[in-house]
Amino acid sequence: MAKILNLFKNKKQTLDERLKNIQDGDIEEREQFISEYTPFIIKTITEVINRYIETENDDEYSIGLQAFDEAITKYDSNKGKFLSFAKLLIRNRIIDFLRKETPSKSNIYFEDTQDADEYISLSNREDDFTESYSIRKELEQFQRELKLFDILIDDLVKESPKHIDSRINAVKIARHIVENKKIKQQLYDKKKMPVKKITSSIDVSNKVLKRNRKFIIASVLILDGNSEFLKNYVFGVEGR
């Protein structure tokens, strides 16, 4: 009964009251609060840097989180609303960070060649570039293969199974095709799904195959291809 009341209370708590609790030292509540507001933090960072946050290079994200945390500690309810304060703080911290980062990353001074050499060697840009280049190559390959089956990536957006369970099921079928050489060969040769062979060897209905044809073929191509980073996304569903 007390729990229910507490839940009820929590819901009713205003932002200011919650912040006061956190400021008083409720660490659990603090973590809860931050995870609740991550979309807000991400949104603010994205606005400032004018592109999506990249996970490989998530300094911005951690700086944003730190700034938000700082905002919680520094907040004074008499000086205005919390969210606008937090936004301001995140923005300032990110801008400060970008100012520090940019000279070493993208600006090369040709006036002083020696310095320039230094800058280039200091920056880790080159690795980043080669990696993204290979990824791009792999993506192009993926698109080309899809085109053989007359599939565009845009089609996948529209025709992928929406529900996670049906996606898992579809990936299962894809895995079955990849592991069954005969079926796979037929698929590559005829550019068509050998529906009969699949239904006879695995328990699926024609309807599922037909409806998720494009998604299954794309998954087969990813699983059978040599792009490790794309595979990761399919493995994510398979739970590997």
């Binding site: 979309p39 999506y52 990249e54 996970t55 998530d58 980073f229």
Partner: protein
């Protein structure tokens, strides 16, 4: 919800991301290219095709609504604004005319199925009296207005004031003059806006509504619909007292008193009209015949003929020129005897001239006369013998013929220029 995903395709306005749980998502593009990068994005970044679709549907709906509104303004409202008066015609069938400040019909509506038989498209743009009589004549043609069903109800509602829409008398007069039916009971009601609005709600004319009001005063059981569906003649029979008070007495009396004289007048008028008509017809026929003739003559001429004639004409002209030169010299040597002969010849030639004058344009006549005279002279000068005059005549005839033809050619060309 926070998503993590790899950018696998970039387009102009969007990027496609493969998320950690193997979903392909289309999201908004932000900043420079991030192809191949794993990014963090939010729900609000996802381009949801359904929202686009709803937006599209909403836009289409808006478009339809606005166009409908404009159409309403164009066809409905402006019509309403221009309507100065509404004239209803009930025989049952019922029709309604909307007229503008000049008494011109702007809109005709049939208030029932039969009413459609009375409506002609040409009514729009007619003066109201013409349109009403046309409607009545249509009713006669279609046997709606017969000796049994002989009551016409005309109602007028002035929505706005204008001097030109006091049409009552002109309408009545025109009905008297131009419709064939005698012994018609004509009821003319001038109603007001309120009644018109009520009537419009019930899809009937203001006149009928006025009658309904009058009938309802005496009889509570009467419904609007029964009155609406009843023929005016039936109402007149059932509720004689009301109709008689509203009847256009002038119309009746006039009709009866003027019956004989009126008929005669009518006949006279008709006969006059007929005569005029016939005359016009004759004229037209004559004109047509002339036209036909010309056409035939024109058509008979081939281009070859024309060329041939042209060359002949040239030759003639050359001869004439030569003759003129000679003639100048010989003029002085002319005797009085020759003059006499010349006069004779002139007399003959005048006939031709007259004939030619009829055909030729006035402008050409003077020049032609000059030529002809010269020709005459030179004929006389060159050939003294009277015996040869006949030949000359023949020559002249030929020339005249040619001239005539030339004239026709000219006419032909003129026609073509026209």
């Amino acid at each position: 919800m926070v998503y993590k995903g790899r950018v696998i395709k970039e387009e102009k306005n969007y990027i496609i991301v493969l998320t950690k749980d193997c979903q392909y998502k289309k999201i908004r593009k932000k900043g420079q290219s991030q192809l191949g990068k794993e990014i963090i994005f939010l729900d609000e970044d996802i381009i949801n095709k359904s929202t686009v679709r709803y937006g599209l549907v909403a836009a289409i709906l808006l478009l339809i609504v606005t166009t409908a509104m404009f159409a309403g303004i164009n066809f409905g409202l402006i019509n309403e604004l221009n309507t100065y008066s509404v004239v209803g015609l009930d025989i049952n069938p019922s029709i309604e005319f909307r007229i503008d400040d000049q008494g011109i019909v702007r809109k005709v509506t049939a208030l029932d199925e039969e009413g459609k038989d009375l409506v002609n498209k040409q009514m729009i743009g007619m003066e109201i009296k013409g349109a009403v009589t046309l409607g009545i004549n249509n009713a006669i043609d279609k046997k709606y207005l017969t000796s049994d069903n002989d009551t016409i109800l005309i109602s007028q509602v002035n929505l706005k004031d204008s001097d030109n829409i006091n049409i009552k008398n002109s309408v009545i007069q025109s009905i008297q003059e131009t419709t064939d039916v005698q012994n018609v009971n004509l009821v003319y009601i001038e109603s007001d806006k309120e009644s018109f609005k009520e009537a419009e709600k019930n899809n009937m004319t203001a006149g009928k509504y006025e009658i309904y009001k009058k009938v309802a005063q005496n009889d509570d059981n009467v419904s609007i619909k029964s009155i609406k569906d009843m023929k005016v003649a039936e109402i007149a029979q059932n509720h004689e007292e009301i109709i008689t008070t509203l009847k256009v007495t002038d119309f009746d009396e006039k009709q009866q008193s003027d019956k004989n004289s009126n008929n005669e007048n009518d006949e006279d008028n008709n006969s006059d009209k007929d005569e005029k008509h016939n005359k016009n017809k004759e004229k037209n026929q004559a004109n047509n015949k002339d036209r036909l003739k010309n056409n035939f003559e024109d058509e008979d001429r081939d281009d070859d003929d024309i060329e041939h004639e042209m060359s002949e004409q040239k030759r003639n002209n050359k001869n004439q020129d030569k003759d003129y030169d000679q003639e100048d010299d010989k003029y002085e040597e002319d005797d009085e005897d020759d003059n006499k002969e010349r006069n004779k010849q002139k007399g003959k030639n005048k006939r031709y001239k007259k004939y030619k004058c009829n055909v030729r344009n006035k402008d050409d006549d003077e020049d032609d006369e000059y030529y002809e005279n010269d020709e005459d002279k030179d004929n006389e000068d060159n050939r003294d013998d009277e015996d040869k005059d006949d030949e000359d005549d023949r020559d002249n005839d030929d020339k005249d013929d040619e001239d005539d033809r030339d004239d026709k050619d000219k006419d032909y060309e003129d026609n073509r220029d026209d």
